[in-house]
Structure formats: C-alpha cells, structure tokens
Symmetry: D2
Subunit: 367 residues, 4 copies
Amino acid sequence: MSMNSFGHLFRFTTWGESHGPALGATIDGCPPNVPLTPEMLQQWLDKRRPGQNKNMTQRNEPDAVKILSGVFEGKTTGTPIQLMIENTDQRSKDYGDIANTFRPGHADITYYQKYGNRDYRGGGRSSARETAARVAAGGIAREAIKALVPGLEIKGYMVAMGEMEIDRTRFDWDAIDKNDFWIPDSAAVQNWEDYLQDLRKAHDSVGAIVEIVARGVPAGIGAPIYGKLDTELAAAMMSINAVKGVEIGEGMNAARLKGSQNADEIFLGNDGAPVYSSNHAGGILGGISSGQDVVVRFAVKPTSSILTPRQSIRKDGSSAEVITKGRHDPCVGIRAVPVGEAMMACVILDHLLLHRGQIGVNQGIIG
Amino acid sequence: MSMNSFGHLFRFTTWGESHGPALGATIDGCPPNVPLTPEMLQQWLDKRRPGQNKNMTQRNEPDAVKILSGVFEGKTTGTPIQLMIENTDQRSKDYGDIANTFRPGHADITYYQKYGNRDYRGGGRSSARETAARVAAGGIAREAIKALVPGLEIKGYMVAMGEMEIDRTRFDWDAIDKNDFWIPDSAAVQNWEDYLQDLRKAHDSVGAIVEIVARGVPAGIGAPIYGKLDTELAAAMMSINAVKGVEIGEGMNAARLKGSQNADEIFLGNDGAPVYSSNHAGGILGGISSGQDVVVRFAVKPTSSILTPRQSIRKDGSSAEVITKGRHDPCVGIRAVPVGEAMMACVILDHLLLHRGQIGVNQGIIG
Amino acid sequence: MSMNSFGHLFRFTTWGESHGPALGATIDGCPPNVPLTPEMLQQWLDKRRPGQNKNMTQRNEPDAVKILSGVFEGKTTGTPIQLMIENTDQRSKDYGDIANTFRPGHADITYYQKYGNRDYRGGGRSSARETAARVAAGGIAREAIKALVPGLEIKGYMVAMGEMEIDRTRFDWDAIDKNDFWIPDSAAVQNWEDYLQDLRKAHDSVGAIVEIVARGVPAGIGAPIYGKLDTELAAAMMSINAVKGVEIGEGMNAARLKGSQNADEIFLGNDGAPVYSSNHAGGILGGISSGQDVVVRFAVKPTSSILTPRQSIRKDGSSAEVITKGRHDPCVGIRAVPVGEAMMACVILDHLLLHRGQIGVNQGIIG
Amino acid sequence: MSMNSFGHLFRFTTWGESHGPALGATIDGCPPNVPLTPEMLQQWLDKRRPGQNKNMTQRNEPDAVKILSGVFEGKTTGTPIQLMIENTDQRSKDYGDIANTFRPGHADITYYQKYGNRDYRGGGRSSARETAARVAAGGIAREAIKALVPGLEIKGYMVAMGEMEIDRTRFDWDAIDKNDFWIPDSAAVQNWEDYLQDLRKAHDSVGAIVEIVARGVPAGIGAPIYGKLDTELAAAMMSINAVKGVEIGEGMNAARLKGSQNADEIFLGNDGAPVYSSNHAGGILGGISSGQDVVVRFAVKPTSSILTPRQSIRKDGSSAEVITKGRHDPCVGIRAVPVGEAMMACVILDHLLLHRGQIGVNQGIIG
C-alpha cells in the first residue's frame, strides 16, 4: 500500500531509516524539461540540516543529496527522479537498554505493536530524519512551480514557541530569513533564544507553532470534496513528525467568531480579479483557492527526547526510567519550518498540475 | 481523478448536488457478510437531518436512504454498495439575483473560477447536504466495525460554541445523546440554547468545536508515514464543510507545553497491555494507535448564510449586497457531530482492514 | 479498495447486480463544460442492449439511463456524474436448484469461495449486465473526447467467430454499422448468421475475436512503465466478462516474426509528422501513442450458459448436471463490441487528460 | 502520477535509466518479519542477467542488488524497502548519430513526442534494463509468499520462438531449469539453439511466447470487476518491454471453441475441494482464482535492435538508415521468463494480502 507516498500527479514516496545506509525519495510525475541540479535541492536541505547553530542538535550530517535518475543534461525527463541522501554520521554505539525500552512520546511501542519488530537505532523509520527526503522533494516542486507560475512564493516562519508569541503588528516578511528561528521580527530574536537556552539548560524542551504562506497561488486550484486544497494541506502538515494540530486561515479560533465577523467580503479589483476585505478563509473557499494568500498553521509538540527522567516499560514488561541522552533539538519547530514549506510546495504543485488545461475555464477574471 | 472518494480498503465516493434529483455514496471494499439494512443507516441520517428542533434549519427532508446494490438477503456481499437519498424538498423557486451573485464565505466564486460554471441551486455540490452521504457511509462502517471489533465505540460531542465552552470537570458521557447540542453536560444545555437563540434573533451565526472519541481501538492500527492515523483523521475532518482546524490529543495547545509536561508515561497494566499516565498524544504515536482513546477535535466556522447584509460582486463584476434568506442553521457545529463520527468510523474501519492478518504480530501484549 | 473502479483522471466505478433494483456508474473526473444529455448515452446502450435481433438473448431491458448528478443546464459541471439504469425485467421466478448449484464456466463457485456468499440471481455482480454501466461511462468519454480532439474516431468490429473469420482484403469500414455482427464485410453477414443459428439450434455457443481501433489519437499519450497505453488497454479489455486474451497490433503473432519483418519503418510526412511503412506496433511504442491507429483485439470465450448438460457440484458437495435454460446470447462477442469501444474511449480520454498542458512539449511535429 | 508503480497492497515503483548511475525499486507494503537478504534476490537477477550464455547479449553487468532500507536484523520491518542496482558497464562512447535518430520499433520517437526530450543513452528509461528492478521486487514477493502460502510455486518457460514450438506431450517441468531457453523439453534444446544462432548470423532477431504458471494458489483471490486476477496479470505482462499479447488459459484460441468444448466441468475432490475436468479457464473464473493452476502466456516481439538496415528519420526530419550495432539479444523472450515470473509473484502476493482475514469466508472447502 502506498502509505509512504504523498500526492496525486506529483507523487513522492520516501524511504529509509535514521541509521540505515541511506534515505531518500522517489518522485513520480514531475513535469519534463524543468531545469534541475543537486545544488537547487541542497539549499533547502541545508536550511533543515541539524548542527547549524546552537538552537539545534549538534549531530553533524552533511545531508548531501544525489540525483540517481530522471534528470538528463540538466533537465527533468518526465520519468521517476530518485533522490538519495547517505547517512554518514552513524556513530557506532551500544544501544544497550534503549533497544528494549519504549521511550515515552515516541513511536517505539506502537511500531512494535503494529509490526512485531522495531528498528531501535535512532527511531528507525519513525525518526524525523525522514523529513530530509521531503525537503528534497519539495525543492523539486519549487523548481517545477517556478516553470509553471513564475511569481508564486512559499515561505514559513514560527509564530509561537512555548510562552513566546510573535507580535503581528511588527510582522516583517524580510526578517524571516535573517534569524535562526525564522521569525518575522528581528527585535524578538534575542528573547526567543534566551528562552530556549534556559529550557535546554533545564533539560527540557518546548512546542511551537509554524505558519506557512503561499503567495501568488492562482484562483481555482484544489478540488472538492475529499481532495480539497485545505484537506490536502491538513494531511500534508499532520504527516510531519510531532505535529498535533493544523489550521487554515482563522483555524480553531473560527469557533469563537460570529458569521458577521468571519465573512470575507468581496470587491472587484482594478485588474478585474476579485479582492477581499479580509482573509479569515486562509485563501481557500470550498476546497478551492481564491487567489488570496494560502495560509496554514501547525503546532508541534515539545521534543519527547529530554534529559528529564520519565517512566516507561521494557519489552519484557519491566519498569524503566528513560532519560534520552544524545543530540536532540530542544524545539523541533525550528526545523519544521523548511519541512512545512516543502509540503506546501508539493501540494501546490500537485494541484497546479491537476488543474492544467481545463476546458472553457475562466482564470478568475470577472466582468 | 478520485477527488470525491475517501479511504483505501473501505473506500467511498459521494455524488450529488443539493438540489439535483438525488445524492448518495458508492462504497467499494466493505467486507462481505456484514448484516445491513436501510434502518441501520437511517438512525444516523436522522441524527444529522435538518428540521429536528429549533436550533436547526427547518428545511424538511426525510433523507430516506435506499440500498441499490451490494446487499443480498440482509447481508453485504463484498461488492459495491450504492446508497441513494432522493431530494424531496426541492422548493421550486426563483433564484433571481443569487444565480449571478457570489455569496461571501461560500464556494460560489471559487467553483466558478475553477470550473467556469456554477450550479447555484443551494450551493450545488458544495452544499453541506453532501455530508448526508458520508453519514450513510459511516453507518455501514459502524456495522462492519461491530463485526470486527465488537466493543469499539465512537461518539462525538460539542465542546465549544462561540462564547460557550464545556466544563471538563462535569463531563458526562451519558448526557451526550440526551440533548439537542450533543454536549456532555445536561445542566449547560439551557445556556447554550439561549445563547444560540439570541444569535439567531440578531440575524447572526456562530462557530463551534466538535470532539470525536473512539474507545476500544486496538493498538497497532495506522501506518507511517503519509497514511498515519492522525494524518487520515486530519484529512477526514478537514474535508467536512466549514471546518478550519483539526487537532489530535493536545492539539494546538501542544505548542505551549514543555517536554516534561507532555510525555505520557507508560506502565504495565494488569492484563499485560500498556497503560499510560495521560493522553496528550490523543491515542496515536508515530501515526499508529496506542490502544488509548483516539481523540480528534475540529473547529467549524460560523455559517456564512446570514441575514446580516455583506458586500460582494456579481458575475458581471458589479457590486451586490448579499442577505441570505432561507432556512439555515445558526451553528453548523450541531449537525457536524454525526458527520465527524461517520468520518471517524470510516477511517477506523479502513485501518482495521489494512491491519488484518499481519504476519507474526503481537497485538499489544507486552511481557 | 477501488476494485470496481477504472481510470486515473477520468475514473468510473460501476455498481449493481443483474437482478437488483438498479445498476450504474459513478464517474469522477469528467472535465467541466462538456455538453451531455441522457440521449447521447442512450445510443450506445441501445447498441449493447439485449433483444435487438435474433442473434441476441431476447431478454427485453430498455436499459434507460438516468443522469442523477454532475450535469447542470445541459453541461457537465466537473463534479461526479451518477448514472443509473433501473432493472425492469426482473422476472419473478423460482431459482430452485440453481441457487445451490455452481454453473461450470461461471463465477458462481469462486465468488462463493471468496466471499462466503453468492447472489445467485442471474449471476449477481458477475453478470455481463455490469457492462451496460461501462457502455454508459464510455458514452461520456466519447463526448469529452469530442471536445478535446474533434476528429478522433473509435470503432469496434468482430474479426472472428468460431470457424468464421473476416477476409482483410475485403475490409469495409462503412459496412460495420450496417449489420448485426458489426463485421466489416456486408457479403459475409449471411454466412455468419447461418453459422450462429446452427449453433444455437445445436444448443451450443461459440467464442469470438473483436478488434477495436482508435483513429486520430495524437502522438504522445500513454505513460511508461506501468501506465503504458497498451498496459491500460490490456487491463481494460481483460476486465470485460468472458475475455481470455488481448492483443496490441501484431499481437500473439509477433512471436512468429523476425525483427526484419516486424520493424515499422519511419518516414517524414508532408505535414512534418512521422509516417510509418506499416503498423505492427498497433500505434504504440514504449507505451506511448505514435499517431498511428491504435489497434487492440480481444478474444471472448463461448457463452458458458448452454442447453447442453455439463457436470458440476452443489454447495453441499453433491453432483449436479447443469443445463442453463433462459435467454442467453449464443455468442457474447457481438455485444462485446460496444463494450470494447467504451473501454477504449475511457482509456483514451484518461490519457488525453493526463497529457494535457505538458511543459515544452512538441506535439509530434518533427523537422 | 504513479505511472511507474504497480500493485495495491504490495506496491513497487521502479526508477532509473539504462545508462544512469543506478536503477532500482521502491517497495511499499511488504509484510513485516519476512526473512530477507540480498542473496535471496540475487539468484533471480542472475537468471535475468545478460551475458550468461551465447544466446544472450554479452553486455556484462553484475547486476548486484543492494538493500538500502526496510530490512533490520535480516527481516523486513514493514517499512519501504529500497533496492538499488548500480550500472557498472556504462561504456563511455560516442553516441554520434544515434542521439538524433529515432530507431524503428523503439520508443525513441514517442518519448520525444511525449516529453519533448529524450535520453538516448541505451534507450534511457525505455530500456529493458528496467526489468532488473522488477525481478528484484519479484524476489521479495516470492519470499513473502513463502511465509504466507508455503507450497505455492511459480515457474515460467518458453513455449514458442519463431518457428520453434514446444511439444506439449513431452512437457517436463523439471527440464525447465536445466537449459538456457527455459523450455520444458531437454531434447528440443539443440534445435532451438541452432535456430537462434542461424538468425543471429543472419543479423536478425525473432519473437517468442512465454508461459508462466502459478501452482498452489488458494481459491478465492482476485477481485471483480476491474481488479480481476486476470486483469491484473494482463496489465502486469503487457507492461513488460516488447510484449504484444497476453492470454489467460485458453487465450485467443477461446474464440474458436464451442461452449460445450470450453466448459471446465466440476467434481468434488477427496479433500472436499472442487476438482475440474480441464483448465480452459486458466485457473480464474470471474476474476477470482479457482484453486487450479493459474496460467498466463505472453508474446514478445522480435528485438528491434538488429544489424539489418531499416529506414527512419532524424530529429531534424532528414532520412536515416539505422543499423543497431552493440550487444543485443536475438530473442528477448529468454530473458522475459524471469521477468514474467516476477510479475506473477507480485500480482499473486498482492492479492493474497488483499484477501487476508476476510469475515466468514470458507476457503474453498465445499460439502
């Protein structure tokens, strides 16, 4: 069953374990004639890569991606693209008690219950290292989008981390790429960093909220009823490790609003396309893009791998106290930013391809 | 493309428009030999049906379901089941200006932009009437689950509506089926009703949060990475009309927690199965069920069809003021409860079927 | 599981049993804005319909198709189209021993072995009545093809029936629609009819070979490796009741040829498109259309329902002698012609849709 | 789109080009806990491998398969298995005129028409080297089948090659593995070899017919209507390079039979399971296995790469005479044997998995 695959026309399957020889993604359905080099993908992998700054785990993986198929003379051919990232920093170590102990908050116990086995080396398939493959696939999606809809831009940023929250009145799109937290407010960075370092020193971790925005998405992509653009984004984001909630536009807060507050009123823009008084809808109506910014948010839980001892059990049923040593991010939300961007890119490309060449369709121009 | 289909092994496709001759669902993959009668499905349709009480639209549709195929001598045969619900209350009326006007907050404009056409009769395919077909499909899923895992129970209830919110300390599972709001607190019902009637009189509407719980789900169902149980539930719930956010377990609030708070510690139960100190995870670890209650929540936006005038445009680009007369629910959250339950039932059945008969698998018993 | 579905972008699911209340097809993915009326579909159903002449079963079903959804103001909307054909000629009868006996050559025994149950009324789901739903779906595909590639033509005809075989040197495309056997040679019709009536009087039946040709298919549709145009056509035709073999172009005879004989040499045509010296390939190279006629052939076995007694067993294991009375075609190949045409139309449309709007693609013009 | 994928629950995607760095298969859905080593797969790759004897191309590829994921401590984990075969014999050469010339009978021209580009190195993606990946995937399927249905056996053999045809009265199952042609008659081997060497010397090639049999397949696998076992086998075999026809049981010859001849009569066997008087059906009734041998045959066309000159055109439209030098099999049927076996194994496993754990099903025992 294609449980490790995502997408319809642009479809990728990820494979590989945290500590196996390699991991990667098989991409089927990338359009032909898209310029593609490993360097184009590497920039996004570098953004996700561990060990870049002190807010991240110091595990040092170059995460160098190789393109094994589907590209000839610098362009995609339209046949499957195989991406491979070799695991180079597989420290030889004694897993000892961990091999038989189920870490709380991890998938150790449920994988064991499902499969009757468990690859205990760094979480095996359930490790967040799998997201490197998505980021690479997302890099391909970005290049194909560029060829189809030149101005389309996708960007993610953190909006909350434990007690920290961004001030929307100070939102600065250009600040995002200039700090380690990908937050849209340069002045807040020091506070966020101090907060996180304190948590790390307290042997603890914290959750976060990430927002991903796609600007310049044409009206009319997406598809009712079960292939709605918001449905696919919800699935895309919920599939990321540690995610516990997904919101489109107003999100959970919509429950608190009245109909008179929530309506995005419609006007005619100068170019003949509709414009809206607000974007409570997050750019999606009835599962189809409206031409406004597509806005999705997701919450990641705090890293379960902490130095504070937690109670658990072993395979033989005996009690165990678990302290997860090793190199772990105190807040996985930081690295979830490029992963969320990649998933947004894959969903948008997939629906651009699904919508291409419709019969007699009016691309959003009214009047 | 199967954009109107949901599920893997238990797969349904819904069809039909709000004001066409009929709507329904085609179900492929229901196991054979499951006892099934229209009455078994009718009970859930009746729960969702409009016009039952004054908190709902007074549109009076009997929503009587017919089984056209796949059942012989009172049992499923294993071949496709066709369910049909005829639309009987199609009031003949003059749609007038509505046929050319895009209602704010509705899919009118995006359907028009996507397809270059629009069935303006009651929203056409984008109408929430489509959810009747899901509820019927969910009724089949419930019967099949009964045959596979007898004790498994699925129940939904509202937890918030505008300013109203349930008091978790007064949670009463048995109260849920005894009030029009499906809330787990009989004493709160009058307040909720007064609040909603005030809104209705003010020509307004309001959003809500619905929670769906599945009890007795065996450990080990679900599937990494893109077919995670939580991923599928997120897609299932986000596909419901008006839903803007989906949460599993702790949900968006996970962003505010520390790792030391969020860990569900593991102990050995008397029956040799694991027990947990808490359920922040919502019954799912790494996309696979842990045997705890599976808990999902979703927010619905306030009904966009209100009597308060909103600005919009017509197909010719001219300005229009929209007041939606007619019979509309002031809070669609109430009727979203059986829809959410149906989607939960479909996802659970699908994954029970996917997991059946694995080789050498240990059903959650440790020690 | 979507075992009752066919196609990728243009995807239909058939449902219904021979003697249930109705049967039909759910079509998801038909492009919007295609003109569509029941009459457009009825012509193809009438071609397949039983009881038209003495070479067919005299079961008299009007096979009137209703469109329940997906069409508004005479055009497809882009949402699912539900087609329903009510079963009107369900003669009330005593199935007697048949309900417990497995007819040789039928699916009675294997359905029972697979599902642990059996709808014995006229074969239930395994009846060739299911093909009426395909023919209706194929009628939609033909209308959509017309909108996309105006000149494309699809036609089927019989090329062999028992000892009868067409003389290719007398092939007459225009004769096909003018005789009850759909054969391309008017002068041969009487012989074929005499042959079949003799078999019928001898209480026997016979197999046949049907050929389906698509003319005007643009070069470049189809998709390696498992979605090849020939792969999809093989699946499409093999899925038709009674089919035991499928050939593309030269077919099984290719085994007897040498490479020097089989090569279709390539030349440049006056319009700049390639022309070929021959069409051993059947219009498909590497799974992709070349612009030549797409040619597929399939063999149907002789009807298993005959008046000549055959040995079998009952559900309780006892021996039974089976004579199938009732109204059966002595050669199902005749009615397989419109079914094969319908499947060809569905496959071609699906791949036209898959190919639309590729980036930087050269539609077959060389030089 | 998953055009490079095959299967439902056991699903593989192949990737890679003839002369790229590597090719392989991504397998999703293999059951957990199946013992698996590279050696288990290597035996089948060695059977398919070029250069083994003088009837094959002398291209010398070790075709050594690596398992990059999905196996831990010698057993499958249930997560995706990545298989990689590096291309070691990529002779550096000047492709010269071939890069711009379309070889007759090859996919060169249609790939160019579809994608607007072409990887001319050895046929790129359209090369039969892709089948190495299938053979490896089939090796995994065989191991999983062993764990599920121990006695099930799958074997392929040639039944015809040009003018050569096997004598069914001399059929010897044990002879198959003992000769270079995989034919079931040791005495015929020398004739076949002489015939093929004469063709090679005449700079020509020839087609062939391969038959694949699965013995011990339990009754009840397969699934109507579009997921029939015969439908899937037809697709599986037609997807193999050079295949032009597929037959089940009686195949195309069924067209020549009468109903009284074709019926496989049914009796009760000593073990309570049905036995049949004959196997015209090829082990499949209504798309579902009957417990008899499953028999499929396919024809491969003669190799298009021959030393005899053929007319063609170049990208610029000019005429070209094509002689394909290099290392090519005079009859690709020989190497198609293990490929057909692999596809049979994949289809059988997939349907065994789909059928597992049905409710109230009677595994073929009658009475």
